[in-house]
Symmetry: C2
Subunit: 320 residues, 2 copies
Amino acid sequence: MTSEFDLIQRYFTRQAKSVVLGIGDDCALVRPPGGMGMAITTDMLCEGTHFFADVDPQSLGHKTLAVNLSDIAAMGADPRWATLAVALPRIDEAWLAEFTTGFFALAERFGVELIGGDTTKGPLTLSLTMFGTYPLGHALRRDGAGVGDDLWVSGETGGAALAVAHRHGRVHLPAPALAYCNRRLDWPEPRVELGRALRDIATSAIDVSDGLVADARHLCERSKVDARINMDLLPVPTALQASGIDRAIVCQAILAGGDDYELAFTAPAAARSDVLVVASRIGLVLTRIGSMVAGSGSVHVSDMQGLPIHLAAGGFDHFR
Amino acid sequence: MTSEFDLIQRYFTRQAKSVVLGIGDDCALVRPPGGMGMAITTDMLCEGTHFFADVDPQSLGHKTLAVNLSDIAAMGADPRWATLAVALPRIDEAWLAEFTTGFFALAERFGVELIGGDTTKGPLTLSLTMFGTYPLGHALRRDGAGVGDDLWVSGETGGAALAVAHRHGRVHLPAPALAYCNRRLDWPEPRVELGRALRDIATSAIDVSDGLVADARHLCERSKVDARINMDLLPVPTALQASGIDRAIVCQAILAGGDDYELAFTAPAAARSDVLVVASRIGLVLTRIGSMVAGSGSVHVSDMQGLPIHLAAGGFDHFR
């Protein structure tokens, strides 16, 4: 019968070149390059909470890595190594082959080496810990936003939340919008290149996983400032623009939907052209959506006329 | 209602002194001391596989940390930091208070700082990643055992497996033996001090989590040697000696039972007195149970007369 050790050997072992010692001992051994700090993040994905039982295993492998890469990106760090703990209800080699295909395709794109892990029996659960390196003193933290800074967001938000709402039957998306939203939910693109490029431009950054307003609030709380967001400046995905979906639902998804894995960041007004140069160089839309004002950690959303917009919920919380 | 963020703040946040940035950002930031490598390990514990639904949450908090400390110990590294991902079916604050009491009591004993994590809804699952530091070139790896080395084991093995067998109704342990075995299963003591002390004495080491013979085999495979174990040299726990339990069952547990978290290690015959000095200094029995011979990764167990002993199973495998 296939054992835990066979599974690790067959599906999870790749040659790790930049480590002292990879999979196969009690610990992996790494030697961070001189003058570098390490950025460390952990995310756990559970069936029923983060993905549906019938999820495409390739996209799940991609997403397990992508959500952690997104945290590394939000610190402006370079992704390096990962450990992966997997609980599986039973051995399903076809499933594992697909999962690891999605996982390693993304890992190779960003030079991430899987250096250790654990495989066990249990309800389908993926827990990944990722390590990045950054030049000491140059990480993009949440607590650096200052009054007068611009607030920016990368790409588009809202699509992933609408895909979830569609699958739960709470909205009905026409085919083109559904294809767009499914892609946003199942194949998120971590903004690693952007994080790296913003290292010496942005004053703070966070990845948008709980919802744009909720994550902007995390950033405001840590920076001890308020944010003013102009709803009418937010990018509305093309696929959702003439889709016939209620505009209020789209706005709600853009502001409060989770699982987007874009970056929200602040930068001084003097750095606007630097930000736009980055956008152009990496081929990613970066949108100025508001600014930071004196305050103690709140986010205010209004439309072009300055009328306040209230959200139905503050963001995504696993226990709500 | 209590949110994920409240839970993290209330139960999982302690002041982390030795890090650049602890809980509350996208990543934790650490700066390994100069000249040090990092040892990294991950273990996942699932309800039903690694513990029973009615487990004492304090002991579970202890054990979640202990099994990872054991891997750090087996590398001869100094434990430093940990990240913890927790899936919970529902918020149970009394349970969390107990769990974190057990967790932090052990963390403080060994100077481990919790620097990040994830809290989510799902079947009860704990996934911990731990980081240790070690002087470059001085880690205790599995692949350093040489022909002629002695094979040693710390403490006693077998108790934890007998506690599991009792709970499953496969053996009946009298009260004093049961108390001993339960303690071995629920409150394992990671051999951190031993690992550190063996750094420049042992040629290889592994922690005994899958069973003594199975783990000795992992060590042999990586070192490309065989091991000869003399069954009659193995320490039999006092509580099991006159307990009336079938001797064959006790031997099987000592050789093949999992979840012991002792260290098995090899050292040159010339270092015997050094090993015994360590044993005396840290107050832990260290027993020479065999020796390494030319071979390609097998373990041979025999009794004092040299008669071979065969095991019912090769060790612990989550999918067997």
